[in-house]
Symmetry: C2
Subunit: 332 residues, 2 copies
Amino acid sequence: MSLTIDHQTFAGNGVLITGGLGFIGSNLARRLVTLGARVSILDSLLPDYGGNLFNIEGIEDVVRVNISDVRDSHSLQYLVQDQLYLFNLAGQTSHMDSMADPLTDLEINCRAQLSILETCRKVNPTIKVVFASTRQMYGKPDYLPVDEGHLLRPVDVNGINKMAGEWYHILYNNVFDIPGCALRLTNTYGPRMRVKDARQTFLGIWIRLLLEGRPFDVWDGPQRRDFTYIDDAVDAILLAAASSQANGQIFNLGGDCVITLRELAELLVEVNGGGEFTVRVYPSDRKRIDIGDYYADFSRIRSTLGWEPRIALRDGLKRCLEFYREHLPHYV
Amino acid sequence: MSLTIDHQTFAGNGVLITGGLGFIGSNLARRLVTLGARVSILDSLLPDYGGNLFNIEGIEDVVRVNISDVRDSHSLQYLVQDQLYLFNLAGQTSHMDSMADPLTDLEINCRAQLSILETCRKVNPTIKVVFASTRQMYGKPDYLPVDEGHLLRPVDVNGINKMAGEWYHILYNNVFDIPGCALRLTNTYGPRMRVKDARQTFLGIWIRLLLEGRPFDVWDGPQRRDFTYIDDAVDAILLAAASSQANGQIFNLGGDCVITLRELAELLVEVNGGGEFTVRVYPSDRKRIDIGDYYADFSRIRSTLGWEPRIALRDGLKRCLEFYREHLPHYV
């Protein structure tokens, strides 16, 4: 299939990426630099989150970095002006944190999102906004694969707040004509994800421990998941930004295959050429918010924008391991 | 059908009603007093909202009234202690206000709700919570009548925030065992509703103008709606509180019939024995958030709790007119 991002769409144009020092934001920033965009990054660099200055190593001289928080509406007003695209990726992503400190999750994932959109409405109502949403809000699926017509039944505070954040974007598109859309990401992985701990994804800590020659823990269970390689996720984000057909739409992303955590661990060890893991009983504090099997039906974005995953899981894991073999000290 | 609230459930027990001076809250308070409950009321008495001290006329000596705001978490902590039931009815209900001042709507309908539940978790985790939700969050229906399996597609900021508020209650039931449920109310009407203006319901201002001998405006359109008389809504709230089968559940309420606004206006004039209205073109600022026909399938609450509407629309309108004929000066 042909899936090309038209250079003209972004060349010379101003784009703002909230959460731009994080995993997805920084990979997006790097791609946008190659496409000739004038890239501004907003990131809070909160220690427990995904931001890492090393993520923009090599492009630090051609992007504008602004360290501030999406909860700070004053800095936002200045940064949103004169941009053609807003990639709204900043968020609190830890499910466990959202249960321990629900109001902070609300401030970041609800209140700041609404405040960002209000800022757009006031100072830049034609800016195109792409919001990074999450499949987490589907909760325990009624059927598989899960399409966008599936009911939302969030199983943690984070899922509820992200649900609200997503709908603010759709609403501001529908009512105030601020063009916007949302991508419900599933497990995204690749270079520049947080590997220091399991805060962003369990795959992060697996890779760290594997490369440090230590066994990693795998929670036992029949649950199957899908995974999107970061370059595929960036493709989807750019396609959604470039197409007015995406406006007001919500799209699932998905992966090239469906796999249990144990099979994933085995694949990772195989691709690495060695390594050990310990199979553990699923922790009881997570069991209550577990959703069983999940994998996405991504036919809506395929038919509307021509997107589909292009990097096979095996290849993605290989690239990921190569990146961290070289750069691990910057991430631990 | 038999639909009886067991006196033993509430007699001698402490109940807290947020928004208890408002339309639904005060009618609920009055009923709970007759059932022998020890009723505490929390209300902000914000001028543009539904609170009115006259609503508790006659029971003011047997209920405890606390004027404070659900956004004030300190007063909440004190009030939530030692209660068996929390009827969580306080909310910002104006759709137009939520679009003009979305962050205030968020503070009341999202943040305060989460804060209330956090307070319950800390000081009274066995309290049963009934949340007043709204059919507004369904948006424009895909099919009719709308059941609880219908997708949520809110069409205003209020609908998004109420959606989050509702889900916090379901989540705290599921994860923290704080028994809770939500009722998605449709157009509720009856004595003690706000009639000063159209802020709470258009039916309010219709009744005021009718009783003042002035013509009222009816927006023309084919849209059909359902209406719940306040006593029926109170029944549903009490049944949901009394039954552990309701925990974690969401229930639609509905009405005894489906009617266009114009037909409703004609019925109201007929029941009143006279009056005039003017048919107006639907205002363009509301057209964008209009949802077309809506009426509820309420079979879930019927089969689970045995609820169904018992007061026919004609009778409800009659009772309503009688109330305001006597008490209008207290409401304008």
